[in-house]
């Protein structure tokens, strides 16, 4: 039990703080929503009603989609783009999808290689891109949920202002949809870009996201 906890500490830690943060978002979002309801002369709603409302769904989905897009782009961009001195980058002479030997597939696979890495054809191609495809699929689903829930939340405000509701097709080209989307994207892109550049010159002893403290600034692809 103790060993299992230690061996899965990273995923358990992030899983736990995710649930706590989501709970906090739900509770504070409910309080804020009811404050606005009272101000507008409308009745307050229960926590359960708020957690199943379009307002909560759009707030959650818009953040989720941007996080999955961030990692999708990072996974894909780091295949071809390199950054001298960054531990986040591959070696400068290794851009691209690399050789079968480097990737341990087909005849270069070993006993412990996943089954679909050993075979050829569509199964290997699918498995070779499964991480990016899954992150991309989750990103698209979250973005879709954002657009659907966003249409409903936006229309509820439209009706409170005695304006005509808009269709989903109208909403996805609206300023509200793109403002919600881009305000999340810009922060994610800034964070990733900062990590790539700052990790050239700065160190965090013991972290695999950093180079070893004594590594040279121009040492690329080193992890400590």
């Amino acid at each position: 039990m103790k060993k299992a906890l230690r061996n899965n500490g990273l995923s358990l830690f992030f899983g736990l703080i995710f649930l706590l943060a989501l709970l906090g978002q739900g509770l504070t979002g409910h309080a804020l929503f009811n404050q606005e309801q009272v101000t507008a002369g409308l009745e307050e709603i229960s926590l359960g009603q708020y957690l199943t409302s379009s307002h909560f769904a759009v707030d959650v989905a818009e953040n989720w989609q941007s996080e999955y897009l961030q990692f999708l782009l990072y996974i894909l961009a780091t295949i071809w783009l390199v950054q001298k001195g960054s531990p986040e980058s591959k070696e400068l002479d290794q851009p691209g999808t690399e050789s079968d030997k480097d990737q341990l597939v087909g005849e270069y696979s070993n006993e412990k290689s996943p089954a679909w890495a050993k075979v050829s054809g569509w199964r290997r191609t699918l498995y070779s891109n499964s991480l990016g495809m899954t992150m991309g699929l989750i990103f698209l689903l979250c973005w879709l949920v954002q657009s659907v829930a966003g249409t409903s939340a936006y229309n509820e405000e439209q009706l409170a202002d005695f304006q005509q509701p808009v269709s989903w097709a109208e909403y996805v080209v609206s300023a509200d949809f793109w403002n919600r989307t881009l305000q999340n994207w810009q922060s994610e892109f800034l964070a990733v870009g900062s990590m790539v550049v700052l990790s050239i010159y700065l160190r965090q002893r013991g972290s695999p996201e950093s180079k070893p403290v004594g590594a040279a600034h121009d040492d690329t692809a080193a992890t400590g």
Partner: protein, 139 residues
């Protein structure tokens, strides 16, 4: 990938739950015809000059605001307002606790409050990108 024939029933339950959740958050889940019924009942009361019943279908702050603005009672205001025969319902949309019922000649805005669908604006006509112009309630 699990072949279709070997897929557990739970997969379909999850898929159905996902679709239901999506429909729930989009507000396009069927929520009955309560809002359209309330709007039609309001117009029937107006047609029958049953001003008291019509006023009781307004949301309380709409009713109070209507009376205050006209310096008269809600009933008097409805009597003097130019609320046309609306015609048939052409469209009903419900989002969260708000509803929009469009008739052939005018539209009605409603809020789910005070124990049911209450009218927040009636006799409304489009006004470009600005809020609708309404005979009762509205901006």
């Amino acid at each position: 990938m699990v072949p279709l024939t070997h897929r557990k029933p739970g997969t379909y339950v999850l898929a159905a739950a996902g679709i239901a959740a999506l429909m729930g958050v989009c507000g396009c889940a069927p929520e009955g015809t309560g809002a359209a019924d309330a709007a039609q009942t309001f117009h029937q009361a107006v047609s029958a000059s049953d001003w008291s019943s019509a006023c009781s279908m307004l949301k309380s702050d709409t009713r109070e605001k209507t009376a205050q603005e006209q310096e008269s009672t809600c009933e008097d205001h409805l009597r003097s307002a130019h609320i046309q025969e609306p015609g048939a319902v052409t469209r009903t949309e419900i989002y969260g606790r708000g509803a929009f019922v469009e008739f052939e000649n005018a539209a009605v805005f409603l809020a789910n409050a005070e124990g049911g669908w209450k009218i927040t604006a009636a006799g409304c006509t489009p006004n470009g990108d600005a809020p609708y112009t309404c005979e009762v309630g509205g901006n």
